[in-house]
């Protein structure tokens, strides 16, 4: 190859590599699959929360109890054992929201306890609140069940392929007996392949 041709090619490539394309934005259905990468996505979150709550509701022994009365349950924050910074509080919220909407349970929430204590203290000690209208303490419900969960991940990578496996486990524990009344797991596997050619 002539030297001058080489120079032209190098200069041409240098110019081309500067190209960029504008981002296009549109609205879409949150439950619709959007596979962008092998990372944990909003679709995975929806999938998990939906599948888990359905599984719990349709579990026969539990359905028998919820037909008679509404047990009080507490949902603990899901533990993140993956290699990604997943907002597990949001996963927890989704699960709780779906359980609440089913109308089969009643809920206690210990994560807001600091704010509750502040308010109760204010009612008692500030002198601003009419004692007749203040909340009586010592009458709160205790949870009969506690829901705990964790997400774990196994990822394998080589030059071309990233294979990621997520496992989400949810456990319903009976606080009276200490027994696990229900548990289920949901698995998601994503495979990402690197393109051969691109910029």
């Amino acid at each position: 190859m002539k030297f001058s041709n080489l120079v032209l090619i190098v200069c041409g490539l240098a110019v081309l590599s500067g190209c960029s394309s504008n981002m296009k934005v549109r609205y879409t259905d949150p439950t619709q699959g959007q596979v962008v990468s092998t990372e944990f996505s909003s679709t995975d979150l929806q999938l998990i929360a939906g599948a888990m709550v359905d599984s719990m509701m349709t579990f026969q022994p539990l359905a028998q109890i919820t037909n008679l009365r509404q047990p009080v349950i507490m949902v603990d924050k899901v533990k993140n054992k993956t290699m990604q910074h997943i907002d597990t509080e949001s996963v927890t919220d989704s699960i709780r929201a779906k359980l609440v909407k089913s109308g089969k349970f009643r809920f206690v929430d210990r994560t807001t306890e600091d704010a509750v204590m502040n308010e109760l203290n204010f009612q008692k000690t500030s002198g601003m609140v009419d004692p007749a209208k203040a909340v009586e303490t010592g009458k709160q419900y205790g949870a009969e069940y506690i829901v705990t969960g964790n997400i774990s991940e196994i990822t394998q990578t080589n030059t071309k392929v990233t294979d990621t496996y997520y496992k989400f486990t949810l456990v319903l524990k009976n606080l009276n007996t200490g027994l696990i009344d229900w548990t289920d797991e949901k698995e998601i596997r994503k495979i990402g392949t690197r393109g051969m050619f691109g910029n």
């Binding site: 030297f3 001058s4 120079v7 990822t155 990402g192 690197r194 050619f197 691109g198 910029n199």
Partner: protein
């Protein structure tokens, strides 16, 4: 003939202007050293204005790691977290890029006629591991133990991936060498790299480090996962068998004692890792069924045996103990360079052939003027790739001991430098104290108590 001269000037000026912010014609340590000298002298650098050109260049990964580390040293954990996040994102984008990419081809193409510094910096295995390690400390400082554990897990996974990547790179270098009929054996090259062997010693590879496994073990223990903690302590002990605290931790958890003690755990980053230097070595280059000697610039480390400075820790007037070395980054950096020699030599020889061909053509077409131009160009462009993360410590040390709950004033002293820290220790808590020494400056921070 005039047209060719025009192209040569165009080409050279294109690279000179395009690369002024990067290190194609200026060694990387020369760019970073002025900032490091300021830090060592005890001055604070303005994180918003330092390395601004660098973090927007091809080597953004490298400059972001440097800046994140400086921010961490100065106690600005939020800024450090942002920079490390950006570096991690840039590494990910790079790793997920198409296998044959246009921008990659441009960089490889210009590296074939300029030098390896035009290839965007992607981070060595040991640097990637430490990037996540230090990011874990940033999460700890913000009170997010779960986030810290995530980073520690990535750091562990990175050690496995680096092993895999390293083996593939050796394979690629061998393939490239045989395709171009280049031999990577040269006695001069072996001589300068052979000198590093006595420092490297028996270290198996550059990317596994006991420090990161130890951090991961501590984080598991803080989350009550004692089995996982034990596995990581064992891995750390296997890599660095001389550490006294590692031995204790492994035997403690092997006896199934979950540690309910109130403890302080000190992570000590001492000094700064050495920079690569450059040496011109004449190597035989195959041209037209013959060989010619061409001076080629190689990066190397001066094989200095540097004694670690040990940190003394006391609680008021009561001595608590001293730290013990768990990782030597000079050794890891040397080993990393050593691992890359086959591919390095192959690239250098291919480049030397390209430069020889260029010079030969310029001489044929333009006579003396052409060969003078080519010689000047070769002199200016023959630069070794001396890039590496320079704000990493020279070595890392740990201390672990029990402490009574309540208020304490902890004193730290090492080789003339002193610092103290007031802490309020809660019963059965694990208190991580992070100590960094750069120059004569000693910075002490409590990261987490739980």
């Amino acid at each position: 003939m005039l047209r060719i001269t025009y192209y040569v000037i165009l080409l050279v000026s294109l690279f000179l202007t395009g690369c002024s912010a990067t290190t194609a014609f200026r060694s990387y340590p020369d760019v970073v050293n002025p900032t490091i000298i300021e830090i060592r002298a005890g001055k604070n650098v303005d994180i918003n204005s330092v390395f601004v050109g660098g973090v927007n260049s091809n080597d953004k990964i490298l400059y972001l790691m440097e800046r994140g580390r400086l921010a961490q040293f100065q106690g600005n954990f939020e800024a450090s977290k942002r920079d490390f996040d950006d570096a991690i994102a840039a590494i990910k984008t790079n790793d997920q890029k198409a296998i044959f990419s246009l921008s990659g081809a441009v960089a490889q193409g210009s590296s074939a006629i300029v030098n390896d510094n035009t290839i965007p910096y992607v981070g060595d295995g040991y640097e990637r591991v430490m990037l996540h390690h230090y990011q874990a400390l940033n999460y700890l400082a913000s009170g997010d133990l779960e986030g810290a554990a995530v980073e520690a897990r990535i750091s562990n996974a990175e050690q496995d991936e680096s092993l895999d990547r390293h083996q593939k790179e050796i394979g690629r270098a061998e393939q490239l060498a045989s395709e171009n009929r280049v031999s990577s054996n040269s006695s001069e090259v072996e001589e300068i790299y052979g000198r590093m062997d006595k420092i490297i010693g028996g270290v198996k590879n550059s990317f596994q480090n006991a420090y990161s496994f130890y951090l991961s073990g501590v984080l598991y223990e803080m989350q009550g996962q004692f089995e996982d903690a034990k596995i990581d302590y064992k891995k750390a002990l296997e890599i660095y068998p001389d550490n006294v605290y590692l031995k204790k931790d492994v035997s403690r958890l092997s006896a199934m004692f979950s540690s309910n003690d109130t403890e302080i755990i000190v992570f000590f980053d001492q000094g700064l890792v050495e920079a690569k230097q450059e040496q011109q070595i004449p190597i035989p280059v195959p041209v037209r069924r013959d060989f010619t000697l061409m001076a080629v610039a190689f990066p190397f480390y001066e094989p200095l045996q540097i004694e670690p400075e040990i940190l003394n820790i006391s609680d008021g007037d009561k001595t608590l103990g001293t730290t013990s070395v768990i990782c030597d980054f000079n050794v890891l950096a040397m080993k990393a360079l050593k691992e890359k020699i086959p591919s390095l030599v192959t690239h250098q020889v291919i480049r030397a052939i390209a430069k020889y061909t260029m010079a030969h053509q310029a001489e044929q077409r333009m006579g003396f003027l052409g060969s003078l131009g080519a010689a000047i160009y070769n002199l200016a462009s023959e630069r070794a790739d001396t890039r590496s993360w320079l704000t990493l410590p020279a070595n890392a040390q740990i201390f672990r001991g029990t402490i009574a709950p309540g208020e304490h004033t902890l004193n730290f002293s090492v080789d003339g430098a002193q610092a103290s820290l007031k802490v309020d220790i809660v019963e059965k808590s694990k208190n991580i104290v992070y100590v960094i020494k750069m120059g004569n400056r000693l910075e002490v921070k409590i990261l987490n108590s739980k």
